[in-house]
């Protein structure tokens, strides 16, 4: 089987029944997708397959054969963060970070499919994603900001001048 992950094609030895998550993390050493519950209940393992968000822990790798996989590593780099990554930083939308890669990819897919900053629509798009730090408001703010095309000066964010918290908890 062949799997293209973040633009790089890999030959896969695992059984077609192996969850894509295990192939990514254990066979390929790509660890951005997190193994939270390993039973579809938390969303931390979400990746994009041909642009669609999917639970990699539930997806037999045989069904992803020939598909284009994107993990959080394909979203941006430390020097060149994608808009949604910048928004997550600006809005302090990551706390422990375990749910963040899944949230980012589900949010990215929502925006790629024409999603707006409508709060209910964002909640629906992220409904399968659990944040045990309970940072949902900030995560929704960050996705909404990305949908609006807000831009940020992250050097200011670092000292907390423009966060929702610093402006009085607008959420």
């Amino acid at each position: 089987m062949n799997l293209t992950v973040n633009g790089v094609t890999h030959e896969i030895d695992s059984s077609p029944l192996t969850p894509l998550l295990d192939v990514l993390r254990e066979e390929l050493g790509i660890t951005g997708a997190k193994a939270g519950c390993h039973q579809g209940g938390c969303g931390a393992c979400t990746v994009l397959i041909d642009g669609e968000p999917r639970r990699s822990c539930l997806m037999p790798v045989g069904y992803a054969d020939g598909g284009e996989i994107m993990t959080v590593e394909g979203l941006g780099t430390l020097d060149d963060l994608s808009p949604i990554q910048q928004a997550f930083i600006h809005h302090y939308a990551a706390q422990c970070g375990f749910c963040t890669s899944g949230m980012l990819l589900a949010g990215q897919a929502y925006i790629d499919h024409g999603g707006t900053d409508d709060e209910e629509a964002i909640q629906n798009a992220l409904a399968g994603h659990v944040c045990r730090c309970t940072g949902y408001s900030k995560i929704i703010d960050a996705v909404a900001a990305t949908a609006r095309g807000d831009s940020f000066d992250l050097t200011e964010t670092a000292v907390g001048k423009h966060t929702t918290m610093a402006t009085g908890g607008a959420e």
Binding site: S14, S15, P16, L17, T18, P19, D22, H38, Q39, G40, G41, G43, T46, E52, P53, R54, R55, C57, L58, M59, P60, G62, Y63, A106, N124, A125, A127, G128, V130
Partner: protein, 262 residues
């Protein structure tokens, strides 16, 4: 994953039927959303696995008022169909899981210990759906009611029904998208006025509510009569007591909605 599992990935329905054979020791993988975690947690270590994803068994076909839905059609694809099926499908899990889970997998799911599975069973029962399946005695077509007790032993190929004149769905809200629905009721009225009702979550699998159907002219009486058709159970998401209290309410809502769409 148990390396000893022999995996079949047929490229057509014919190949799938041949690989399934009489169904002995083979686990059918539709989308994988129920079976894959069972295997990850080693609760299930099948000798053989039949992966249907590439067998070309997906799609919704219409011939006149007859709707036929292929086994590997995604649950998400039912969302725009009329009630009760559309609202019932939209109420399953979350965006990612609805887009991966299949109609066949949902109907054939075994009853979970912690929650009722097979969210769509009730809606299809209310529609009077017919299942085409393969297995020990070859390909057969029968009502979903007759098929449900055999669902773990046969390979569902497709399910079909006549579009109802009106449909209705009422389910309990879920505390989180990942919870199964504790209890839901589906209803359909055919062109000749016949009303069919069914519940999901009021027993081991979807259940027809014939007593409620017979008393359907009086919504209150219909709701109470439904209790004679089911054996509500306790599980991790609701008690039998709670299901007993709520079933008449849901039946009443469905009957009201059916009347309003007259």
């Amino acid at each position: 994953m148990d390396a000893a599992t022999e995996v079949y990935m047929p490229g057509s329905e014919e190949e799938a039927i041949a690989a399934f054979g009489d169904g002995t020791d083979i686990v059918v993988v539709g989308g994988g959303t129920i079976v894959v975690p069972e295997m990850s947690y080693r609760r299930l270590q099948p000798a053989k696995a039949l992966m249907l994803g590439r067998a070309g068994m997906a799609g919704i076909r219409r011939e006149g008022s007859r709707v036929t839905i292929g086994a590997t059609t995604r649950v998400a694809e039912l969302a725009d169909l009329p009630s009760p099926l559309g609202p019932c499908a939209s109420n399953v899990a979350d965006i990612e899981i609805r887009a991966q889970a299949t109609v066949g997998g949902n109907i054939c799911a075994g009853s979970g210990n912690e929650a009722p599975r097979g969210d769509l069973q009730g809606a299809f029962l209310a529609l009077g759906a017919t299942v085409r399946s393969a297995g020990a005695e070859g390909v057969a077509e029968e009502s979903l009611e007759d098929f449900l007790p055999k669902r773990r032993k046969r390979l569902l190929l497709d399910i079909s029904f006549d579009e109802p004149a009106a449909g209705a769905f009422a389910g309990l809200d879920r505390p989180h998208t990942h919870d199964y629905t504790a209890l839901a009721v589906s209803g359909a009225r055919s062109a000749d006025g016949t009303i069919r009702l069914a519940a999901t979550g009021a027993g081991g699998s979807g259940t027809r509510l014939p007593s409620a159907e017979a008393a359907a002219a009086d919504f209150e009486a219909g709701g109470q009569a439904a209790l004679g058709d089911v054996t509500p159970h306790d599980d991790a998401i609701a008690s039998a007591w709670y299901r007993t209290k709520v079933l008449p309410v849901l039946v009443r809502r469905v009957l009201t909605e059916l009347k309003e769409s007259a």
